[in-house]
């Protein structure tokens, strides 16, 4: 049974109610500059529910030790929690085996891991395909690889709406394509990419596919077997978990064939001064003391999110996006950047006559946290002819009232600046 079918069959799912959800996130009750906190920056990092905070605290207060090899109660306890977190991740993304779940310090490290290890199997003239809306973390590792071994980096152009069409991807694919590395969802625009179709098209030319799932996994159920992706990378902190933890899912046969990423403890089975042998998966890719407590915290975050029907969370966020888009469009001189048909709850925009940084500073004084800048996607900003945008991104705990606070604060900002 797939994880989705499993979840749908579950009868003990919590009913999604935003007020009750808000009650789970202690930080949301604080004020900023004497105004209620209006946190609209979840695409950068999401806030944490009490259960995640409690899980982290509990580990440090009651069960902390290093994992693996410790022949004593505390180490064995935390080792089993660490491995249980891996199993939680496996179920969440419906991987076939927990050998396919590698813990990293974040999604950036997960992508760099693939570039540094799988990348070694590529040679001069081989092509790596990315799209025009990638985050720097899915651009720069491939540039480093290019400089190292002469691969050719191909970029699929985006449409004026900020979409990536399947045909645009297909026109770049060829027998030379060895890897396609694309975002599931654009962090700067919210565009949802047709990844299932892209994966299938890439496989048709024999290429391997890496999905940067940082934004995607937060907004829709991910089933790596159904997608048939070869790698799927994501971070914990955008999924309501702690920072310092990320996940690389990789198909077992690929991970098996790849050389280790870093050398050190944990990733070996035998070491002499002449040579070393590698540990089994996934330990082969987890050199050194891993982010133990963050992994347990990520497990708690997934338990929290998976306690709801993910479709209910998505429907709530879709409603926020629709409302925010309407309200923003009703303001004069607003230009929405990224108007894809399929979008997550991200509103990126510029306001004529007001620079995003000035807007963000003024919004902050109304307690509104938004991001202003290039969102680590400078090439994407260039393609829209802007250097920066304001980005309001919504999480499961945001409300329509908070959209109103944003709109009012924008009105005030415009009074001051324009």
């Amino acid at each position: 049974m797939s994880a989705l079918a499993h979840k749908t069959a579950k009868t003990d799912l919590r009913v999604f109610d935003v007020e009750s959800v808000r009650g789970d996130f202690p930080i949301l009750s604080r004020t900023v500059h004497d105004k209620p906190l209006t946190y609209l920056d979840s695409a950068a990092s999401a806030q944490k529910p009490q259960s995640v905070i409690d899980a982290i605290r509990y580990q440090y207060e009651h069960e902390y030790a290093n994992v693996h090899r410790g022949a004593y109660f505390l180490s064995e306890t935390l080792t089993s929690k660490y491995e249980a977190a891996r199993e939680t991740v496996r179920q969440f993304v419906n991987a076939e085996s927990d050998r396919e779940i590698v813990f990293t310090k974040g999604a950036t490290e997960a992508i760099n891991l693939v570039a540094a290890t799988f990348g070694r199997s590529l040679s001069s003239g081989d092509e790596v395909v990315i799209t025009g809306l990638e985050h720097h973390s899915n651009i720069v590792p491939w540039q480093l690889l290019r400089d190292q071994c002469g691969i050719v980096l191909k970029v699929v152009p985006i449409t004026p709406e900020g979409e990536v069409s399947l045909s645009a991807v297909e026109s770049v694919l060829s027998k030379k394509t060895k890897l396609v590395a694309v975002a599931h969802v654009s962090n700067a625009l919210g565009t949802i990419l047709p990844i299932k179709e892209i994966i299938s098209a890439a496989h048709a030319v024999g290429a391997v596919v890496l999905i940067d799932g940082c934004q995607g996994i937060v907004h829709e159920h991910v089933d790596v077997q159904d997608l048939d992706c070869d790698f799927y990378a994501f971070s914990g902190h955008k999924l309501y978990g702690p920072n310092g933890i990320g996940v690389l899912y990789g198909k077992e046969d690929l991970l098996d064939a790849m050389p280790p990423y870093q050398g050190g403890g944990e990733m070996i089975s035998n070491v002499t001064f002449e040579r070393s042998e590698w540990a089994e998966l996934p330990a082969k890719f987890e050199a050194g003391t891993p982010p133990i407590v963050p992994a347990v915290g990520l497990g708690a975050a997934i338990d929290y999110v998976a306690g709801f029907d993910q479709r209910a969370i998505a429907a709530h966020e879709d409603d926020l996006l629709k409302y925010a888009t309407e309200q923003l469009q009703a303001l004069n001189s607003i230009r929405l950047i990224g108007t894809a048909q399929n979008k997550t709850a991200v509103a990126s925009f510029v306001l004529e006559g007001a620079h995003p940084h000035d807007l963000a500073t003024i919004l902050d004084r109304s307690g509104v946290c938004v991001r202003a800048g290039h969102h680590c996607a400078q090439p994407l900003m260039d393609s829209f002819g802007v250097t920066a945008t304001v980005r309001a991104s919504f999480g499961m705990y945001n409300t329509r009232e908070e959209v109103d606070v944003l709109i009012n604060a924008l009105g005030r900002a415009r009074e001051i600046l324009c």
Binding site: P356, H357, D358, T361, R365, A372, H374, Q378, A388
Partner: protein, 165 residues
């Protein structure tokens, strides 16, 4: 702090003179026959400014222009800078830059900074005193400073600068 006071912070940051220079920058462009040129950028936010200057026979700034993209604070600071340093030597421009940095960061009153600068530079700084509004906004100090750092590297012939360097 009360709400009205918070609003005062914002209004002291975005004073009329800042908004005016931000919207209608003076000396925008490039000095065609320049003696030195430097580009400054803030890699975190993408703001960038290019400063070009022509010097006279005594080594004084005869013409100074800037070209850039950025927020109201950085553009206003650049625009006000082009007016404030014309006629100064590189050494004097450095002193002014230090004074602007103090003006943006420290609690020293603008009057005290002006007094310390003396009769030649003091009145020039007075015209920049609106920049002190960034004191309440630590994240924005680098916006005000970027053009000035770029000016110094331009006059030193050092090439490019970055506020994150």
């Amino acid at each position: 702090m009360q709400t009205a006071e918070k609003d005062r912070d914002i209004l002291s940051l975005y004073q009329e003179i800042i908004l005016d220079h931000g919207k209608s920058p003076r000396n925008a462009g490039t000095v065609e026959r320049h003696d030195c040129r430097s580009e400054g950028k803030n890699p975190l936010c993408g703001d960038r400014v290019t400063v070009t200057a022509a010097l006279d026979d005594d080594g004084r700034v005869a013409d100074l222009k800037f070209d850039g993209k950025g927020c109201a604070i950085s553009i206003a600071s650049a625009s006000m800078m082009t007016e404030a340093v014309k006629g100064l030597t590189a050494e004097e421009a450095k002193v002014m830059t230090g004074a602007v940095n103090t003006l943006c960061r420290e609690v020293t009153s603008p009057d005290a900074i002006m007094e310390e600068l003396g009769d030649e530079l003091g009145p020039r700084l007075k015209r920049l005193s609106a920049l002190s509004g960034v004191r309440q906004f630590p994240a924005r100090v680098k916006c005000a400073n970027l053009p000035w750092h770029t000016l110094i590297s331009c006059l030193d012939g050092a090439g490019n600068v970055s506020t994150e360097g």
